[in-house]
Amino acid sequence: MTETQATGDKQKIDKWRGRGGAKRLQSAVEAAAYQKQWFKQIQERVAGGEPCALVSADAPQEIFRTMDIPYVVNQWWAAVVSSRHKAPDYLDLLHEEGYHPDLCAYCSLPLASTLGPPLADAPWGGLPKISLVVTEVTCDSQLKIYGLWAKKYGIPFYAFERTVLVDPHPLNWWDKCRYEWEELYQPYRLDLLVEELKAFIRFLEVTTGKTFSESKFKRVMDLVNEQEEYSAKTRDLIAQTVPAPISIVDSIPSVMIPQWQRGTEWGVNAAKMFYKEVKDKVERGEAACQNEQIRLMWIGVGLWFNTSFYQYFQDRYGAVFVWSFYLGLAADGYARYGDDLLRTLAARYVSLTEGLHIPPWSAAWYADQARKHQIKGAVLLAPRGGCVGRGDAYFTKKALEEAGVPVFELGSDNVDPRTWNDEEIQQHLSEFLDTRVL
């Protein structure tokens, strides 16, 4: 990058840094407060000598929960850093080491946040010292990023394999996955993941000195199911209520903060509170936008540096983003029931990526969710250089458009605002709404 470009980028950031969405729900306010307190405790525990894992979003967090090992989710921390407008500063440190600017910012931002001297205004005081890293090898960058953590800091790295479902059927996986997962996901794939989980537990027992209680594991698994059933009820309520009681600006914090705390009593109570709050709104006839004209869906990861992006369209068009995959996946992607706990846990993770990102399952799910939510238009975010979504946009778009839902493709990063042009994107999306939806 030339000096002129760098200066230009800096000016652009100074001019426009993104905006956070206002929290209207009490469940979101309380979750945000809890999250800060939880993170402070993690920092204190680690400062006191406890280990801390950095894990990808699709790593089996239930194991850490059962063993009471502090952990931070990589993508969650990326979202925190991005929402505090620190992504450009940190990513520059990575680029200065020679890493190409178009590499996946979402997954590498937490590593970038540990480079260079600590910032005085580091988000939430910065990451605690990480002592092990865990990921599933969902894309070719995962081994690199997590391996780099291991190399730079001399810490252990545990990788779960990503197996491939060669012949996904039936298409309506969301109707089968709670109980009929053995056939849905193929026994040989589950066999492998069970063996990997057994090895992982032993790995954690050895590296951290912590123990694994089967009875505690059962409690964690029950709590996750309980929490996700509340998520399903909330999602269904929003789907069937017109005008929608809340938008995704409200739902994302209320579902995602508890998601990262799943397997706890607090997570269940937070999901329950969120559900009751939405139900009360429905009963009182309150809506995110009383003048709701269009219901939209947001397909892709969160736009963490600009969570208020959606408000403009609500104000101008009565266009309400009522669906994102965060609540959708909490509702359909996690609850699993079975007698063999480890195998049940394997069934939660073995095909998470397929349901979310890989056609035909992902496309069929989006189309089904669009129909159930009475969606009139969709925005599909495809981050640059990212491991998610590459090559699946065409079939997602096709499935939705055949279901009568026009799709607007938005090529932008979700954590780094430097390529974001707020005015231009508002204009393009407005044109899409004017010409294809209204």
């Binding site: 020679g98 590499l103 090898v137 190399k151 394999e161 056609p359 035909p360 590459r390 090559g391 079939f395």
Partner: protein
């Protein structure tokens, strides 16, 4: 005609021999991904043909599905599958040796279901895991056995252990001969250019192995007659282009590419299959524990491999040639560079390069400037 000229001809003809094989009644199986065991295909009586892209060809059909920000070689191969170039194949095997190829499989699966193309060959997905754990090894052994069963269904008979052992012997001989050929490049005065080597190695994936072995033996017999080369000795890291444009550009100056880390180059024949154990286990192990590819290895594994190979080849410098949107080698680069430079080996990085090198003036200037800074080693010897 010398063996080298024969091999150059076969490399440039690409799928021509396979087409002729097919027209004369033979069965041809195309494959995508460096994990597909050629030994199994040969044991089943198939002609294994590696699918290639075409830098001069269109990608219009593929762009519709994957867009421009997708691995450019895989995009080109995808286009050629859709445009009917490979319509003569009896079957196509696709492995998950890279995320881009896996994504291509997902697309083809949907295309077959929703928008079938008439020239698209019948395809089979061969899954292979890459973490070096025992759990992955056992999983791979089952997938290799399944693949063998599939081949047996296609040919209507069992593939015997004898047939497998014979195929392993043929492929190992090919690897040994290629290793001998590679030594001609790393001599104090190299007898082959990098451009020659890419053609010799690439021809192995485009013609019957037994014929390739014959030509390699002839080439080695003729080695004394090959002219020697001088200039600086270079090692190429990064992407694995399936054409010659970059090598031709580099060697048009005062330089010889004496080795590379590429699956169209030296990495193709780096390790042998163990001939003393059960053949299916030996094949599984070979593809599981072979030289580390950029897509499925950690940065540390890639650093170690790059440094070892560049050092063994006694190179004066290393050029990182990385194609546009190729994330894995881009992740490897900074640590590889650091490790090389710590050993006094200068590097040049050419990131995010186009698949087809049409406008090469700037590239050539960068390469020439780099070469001018290098100092040839006087006592280079194998």
């Amino acid at each position: 005609m010398t063996a080298l000229v024969h091999l150059q001809h076969h490399y440039r003809q690409r799928e021509q021999i396979a087409r002729e094989w097919s027209e004369s009644g033979g069965k041809v199986v195309g494959y995508m991904g460096v994990d597909v065991p050629e030994e199994l295909l040969i044991a089943a009586g198939f002609f294994p043909l590696r699918i290639t892209g075409d830098p001069a060809g269109s990608t219009m059909l593929a762009d519709k599905y994957v867009g421009a920000a997708f691995n450019p070689i895989v995009r080109s191969m995808f286009n050629r599958l859709l445009d009917g170039t490979y319509g003569f194949l009896d079957h196509l095997i696709i492995s998950n040796s890279s995320e881009a190829i896996l994504r291509l499989f997902y697309c083809l699966r949907e295309i077959k279901r929703l928008e079938p193309y008439p020239g698209l060959p019948d395809f089979y997905f061969f899954e292979f895991l890459h973490t070096k754990f025992r759990t992955s090894a056992l999983y791979n052994r089952d997938r290799v056995a399944e693949f063998k069963n599939q081949l047996e269904q296609w040919i209507g008979k069992a593939i015997t252990d004898e047939a497998l052992r014979e195929a392993i012997t043929i492929c190992n001989e090919n690897r040994r001969l290629l290793q001998e050929m590679a030594r001609l490049r790393t001599e104090a005065m190299p007898r082959l250019s990098g451009v020659d080597a890419l053609q010799i190695i690439g021809a192995s994936m485009l013609m019957p192995k037994t014929d390739h072995n014959k030509l390699l033996r002839k080439l080695l017999n003729e080695a004394d007659q090959l002219p020697t080369r001088d200039g600086v000795r270079l090692f190429i890291e990064g992407s694995s282009p399936d054409h010659l444009q970059f090598y031709e550009l580099v060697e048009s100056g005062q330089a010889t590419i004496v080795a590379e880390d590429s699956d169209w180059g030296n990495r193709y024949f780096d390790t042998l299959v163990d001939e003393s154990i059960d053949p299916l286990d030996a094949i599984t192990d070979q593809y599981h524990f072979k030289a580390p590819s950029p897509t499925k290895s950690t940065i540390q594994e890639r650093v170690d491999y790059c440094v070892r190979k560049a050092t063994e080849a006694k190179v004066d410098g290393v050029i990182f040639f990385i194609l546009h949107s190729e994330n894995p080698p881009s992740w490897d680069y900074p640590e590889q560079r650091n490790a090389l430079e710590a050993r006094g080996i200068p590097t040049l990085c050419l990131p995010w390069q186009p698949y087809a090198l049409t406008d090469t003036e700037d590239l050539k200037t960068s390469i020439e400037s780099f070469i001018q800074t290098l100092h040839p080693q006087k006592e280079s010897s194998p």
